[in-house]
């Protein structure tokens, strides 16, 4: 691609000053001084407040909603049920045949049927949030209860009640993929001469849990003839599309903007029903309306994730090489399919990428999305990868034990080392440092003395284990990769527009959507580097459907890869334009100038001849008669970027040392090391922060967080007393080492860095716990690991030891 103008070195002002430096974050001053603007900070004159009457039963026919008493509550302005609001349903589709995918719809308010505890049934609008709660309390909802579907067993039972009439078997997606030749033969061979591993892994339902709950403020603007929806979402354009569709109005009449956002982690990359209702209310009542989800709603009725079961069978030869993998995956997606990803998001991701970083010669997978009477699922940081990595890493550990191989050694024998590698799953992996990361992690464990401690510990009556996890993560899914998944709405590209003002400062847009990842800093670094200007001269604009032509927002670790490439390309084009004008003004050939890295253009054969961007801008806008004939006034450029092929893979190895408390079963971390490779690092501190924060969420999944449901569909966790979010005393310090395999297909060589930590941590922790339990014969394959399970394993082993010596 070096021939393309945007990559011409002359239009690249970079001198390595910005990219790669941990510059102070530009968003920090306002966030540190209480001057950020989050959605609940928005106050509009005459603003009303909305809240939702929610189902208290999991599965029922909805027979009546009585809002008479509600409307009589002091302060209540209005109350509506589904029939009153009459909004179009949310529909997310896949282009797959009916035997693979069953379309279902999600009404904005429950209409005839209730499908989970917490489902919105009616909406109450009042003058303040306190009166809203009074109104909700006064509402009488009548139901005719049905048996609840709360597990894979109850969903797939022969006489199971149907959550959706369209899906009588409670299966929304059922795909069998790959089924490459030789699977059965490999298992037969391994049974005769080799080993077969057969195990089931479970992961619990989790909440992505952004600390800022969901929320929205909507107001009609007569001047703009437009509904202005301020919302904390990762996907503003998709929210606009669904609101317009549901309200049956042109998209032009809806503007979605996103203020500061307090995290999302995937939960906010789907379109929620509450925000659609609030948008409709603002139009209907002709008043600004705000809804802020409270924590009880966020825990019970927000989008959840991660409840998956894998049965993994793997064949190995006697040398520890995997020869076949046969997997059955069931993902409990809850009551509804999410827009735009559908209920297929988790099983399709898992099925496509389960072979992970290993050379698997034969592969078969069946993956299903089940629908149950639980809060619906959305993508959550890592999306299935924490689960399939857990499954395949447990496969490796089980095989290592059976073959009496060191856990690092069995990985070394199987890990992909030649790139690009096209796997059995028809995915092409671009270059990474899989083996290098594994070996560096092993070296850290050995050189710091942890390996020796592990050997010593048992003799001292201590239970210390080391766990590894080696994995890669597809980041920057382009349109091609999403199209392979057969989504009817195909995300992928990003568009950026850059404009320089008369002073030489630039505003650059991105269709990505920051919610903690530091885009204001990192994307500005890329632009500053490209144009050779100070970062203070660059302002990023995101999250406004009026300012950004189109965008897919931020998810799937796409911002630095795709969004970063788009801003880089746009900046490069602006640089080219600046050079053309400068050459004209310097009265030299265009080939004889280049960006000088100091905010100007220099004449190559006579460096004393230079012209600053401000002087060029002065001409471009204020003295346009001096412009070359072929150049139009204004300094702006637009570029789009899409990742070709299968995207780019970041990779990492994690290693953790844990010690088990033989009196309580508590898992204590002695050490946690992360060796990661996300290509060219734009901002080391930010990458390390993403890794540490991601690992903390992975530890949460490994040891603490879980939403369970009673047989009647009642969720267990309605408060932070029951939903155990780890604090500073549960999350250890984590070292982060960087390897750098630059990405060949992104503009800056960067790969995604947002999700990796969360992906690797559950398997790392579970493997470490199992290693510490190795003397007990117990193998734990489910997360979260409860201390009582650990203690029972230790106690039972101690008892049998006593019996043996007695």
């Amino acid at each position: 691609m070096s021939g393309e103008p945007a990559r011409d070195a002359r239009f690249d002002g970079g001198r390595g000053r910005w990219v790669g430096a941990s510059v102070p974050r530009r968003e920090d001053p306002r966030l540190l001084s209480g001057r950020g603007r989050f959605v609940d900070d928005v106050h509009l004159t005459g603003m009303l407040h909305a809240g939702f009457v929610r189902a208290t039963v999991a599965h029922a026919h909805l027979t009546g909603v009585d809002l008479e008493a509600t409307r009589a509550v002091p302060g209540v302005v209005a109350a509506f049920d589904a029939a009153d609001l009459d909004l179009g349903d949310v529909v997310a589709l896949l282009d797959r045949p009916p035997e693979e995918f069953t379309p279902t719809t999600m009404p904005v308010l429950a209409r005839d049927k209730i499908r989970f505890v917490g489902e919105p049934v009616a909406v109450v609008v009042a003058r303040d949030p306190y009166a809203v709660e009074d109104g909700i309390e006064a509402t009488v909802v009548s139901t005719d209860p049905l048996p609840a579907v709360v597990s894979e067993q109850t969903a797939l039972a022969a006489d199971a009640p149907a959550v959706h009439d369209e899906a009588p078997g409670n299966v929304l997606l059922d795909v069998t993929m790959f089924d490459t030749p030789g699977v059965d033969e490999a298992f037969a061979a391994a049974a005769a001469d080799g080993i077969v591993v057969d195990l089931v892994t479970h992961s619990a339902r989790q909440n992505a849990l952004p600390l800022e709950t969901r929320g929205v403020v909507a107001a009609w603007d007569d001047h703009d003839d437009q509904l202005h929806v301020q919302i904390c979402t990762q996907v503003p354009h998709q929210v606009r599309t669904v609101i317009a569709h549901s309200m049956r109005v042109p998209e032009r009449t809806v503007r979605v903007t996103v203020p500061d956002m307090g995290g999302g982690f995937g939960q906010k990359c789907v379109v929620g029903r509450e925000e659609i209702a609030v948008a409709a209310l603002a139009r209907r009542l002709d008043a600004p309306v705000k809804w802020i989800e409270d924590r009880r709603e966020a825990l019970t009725a927000g989008f959840l994730a991660r409840e998956q079961r894998y049965r993994s069978r793997a064949a190995f030869d006697t040398d520890g090489h995997i020869t076949a993998l046969d997997v059955d995956i069931a993902c409990d997606m809850g009551a509804y399919s999410c827009y735009p990803f559908t209920a297929g998001i988790e099983p399709l991701m898992a099925a496509a990428e389960m072979p992970s970083v290993y050379r698997v010669p034969a592969y078969r997978v069946r993956a299903r999305a089940l629908t149950t009477n639980k809060a619906p699922s959305a993508p959550y940081r890592g999306v299935s990868r924490p689960q399939y990595v857990l499954a395949i890493e447990r496969v490796m550990e089980h095989a290592a034990r059976l073959l009496d191989l060191d856990p690092v050694e069995i990985r070394r024998r199987n890990v992909i080392t030649e790139f690009p590698w096209t796997g059995i799953n028809a995915v092409t992996y671009d270059p990474g440092s899989y083996l290098e990361s594994l070996e560096l992690a092993e070296t850290i464990m050995r050189d710091e003395g942890w390996t020796a401690l592990r050997e010593r510990a048992l003799g001292e009556g201590r239970f210390v284990g080391i766990g590894y996890c080696c994995f890669s993560e597809r980041t920057g899914y382009g349109s091609e990769a999403f199209a392979k998944r057969k989504m009817q709405v195909v995300p992928g590209f990003d568009i950026s527009e850059i404009r320089m003002d008369t002073t030489g400062a630039v505003v650059v847009t991105s269709g990505t959507m920051n919610h903690g990842q530091s885009h204001e800093t990192t994307l500005a670094q890329i632009v500053a580097e490209k144009l050779g200007i100070d970062i203070a001269q660059v302002k990023l604009r995101q999250g406004d459907t009026e300012r950004i032509a189109y965008g897919w927002g931020t998810f799937a670790s796409r911002s630095a890869t795709i969004g970063g490439s788009a801003v880089s390309l746009a900046a490069g084009r602006l640089g080219e334009l600046l050079c053309r004008i400068a050459a004209h003004l310097l009265e030299t050939r265009p080939e004889n100038v280049a960006l000088d890295g100091e905010g100007g253009v220099v004449q190559l054969d006579d460096p004393t001849q230079r012209i600053s961007f401000a002087d060029i801008a002065d001409v471009a806008y204020l003295r346009a008669h001096l412009l070359p004939k072929e150049v139009e006034p204004t300094l702006s450029a637009t570029a789009s970027f899409d990742v070709p092929g299968d995207g780019t893979f970041s990779n990492a190895t994690h290693a953790a040392v844990v010690e088990l408390d033989p009196g309580t079963g508590r898992v204590e971390f002695l050490r946690y090391a992360c060796v990661e490779d996300c290509g060219v690092v734009i901002h080391p501190q930010v990458v390390e922060g993403q890794a540490r924060g991601g690992i903390a969420q992975g530890i949460a999944g490994a040891l603490y967080e879980q939403v369970t449901y009673a047989d009647n569909g009642e969720p267990s966790a309605a408060s932070f007393i029951d939903y155990l979010v780890p604090t500073a005393t549960e999350v250890p310090d984590i070292s982060v080492d960087h390897l750098e395999t630059p990405c060949a297909t992104t503009e800056n060589g960067a790969k995604g860095a947002g999700e990796g930590g969360t992906i690797g941590a559950p398997a790392t922790v579970l493997n470490a716990v199992n290693d510490a339990l190795r003397h007990t014969g117990v193998e734990l394959d489910d997360t979260p690991v409860h201390p009582q399970t650990v203690l029972a394993a230790l106690d039972d082993a101690a008892t049998s030891r006593e019996e043996a010596t007695a």
């Binding site: 809203v132 709660e133 309390e137 603490y704 007393i721 604090t727 009582q788």
Partner: protein, 302 residues
Amino acid sequence: MKPATFRYHRAHDVADAIGMLGELDAAGEDPKLVAGGQSLVPMMNFRLARPSVLIDLGPLRRFPAMTGIGHDDDGALTLGALTTHRVVETSRAELGPGFGVICRAMRWVGHLPIRSRGTVGGSLVHGDATAEWCLLAVLLDAVIIAEGPDSTREIPAAEMFHGFYATAVGPDEVVVAIRFTRPSPRAALTEFARRHGDFALVDTAVSLEGDPARSNGSGPHLAGGRVVLGGIAPTPVRVPEAEEVLAGGVPGPALFADAAAAAAEAIDPPEDPAATARYRRRLTRTLVTRALTEAWGHGDDR
């Protein structure tokens, strides 16, 4: 999540609070006292508690007796009911050598912001079976001093806790102080929760008394010990079976393990989604052992 509506009164003094309780009760209202509010307000935000009137004891903080730390001539320690956990945590010297366990126990009470606001009296009246103050009250033979419309009652800790969040304090009474009558230099409180600062799954408070008469060349002996458990019954409970093991025994790992085993054997803990009965029993054994070991180690603190 917003509290239901209520009316609010600030109490001027204890008599005022008692008077309002009586009047409102007679008028068919459902009044509730609030001190630090660290247990009550979350329940009100969830509308799990919805008093019609809230009587704020906060203004009573200006009376030194309500927040004071004092000692009687007989060695008892008296804490004003409105003393915050944080004040107790930072008043090691004022608590005196017999009550160091109270100071040390405070780090288990929630987190700093909760400790800064929550009060001794509030915690006892709330009556959570795992609350550190409830265990300490039983361990140290506390007397809860409750003023009523006609008289002041002294409620021994042994008679304070009636069941799940139920105490002996009457609806027209105000707890003004707590007197801990049994100094215990060798005492400890420890607990287990999955996260630091959470309500304990199981917690225990223990004390040991050396027997000077029998502590001779053969080493020390115990005159007795006390073992209090939380989280295994609707109220904090003493475990006589464990205390019997301790009485007259030779302090050390073997004795402590035996006492802990006796405690674990004696109880009938509940089974719920948070923990199995087996696990609570097992935690009891561990925690009692650790608490006894720590308590004995505090012998030189005085």
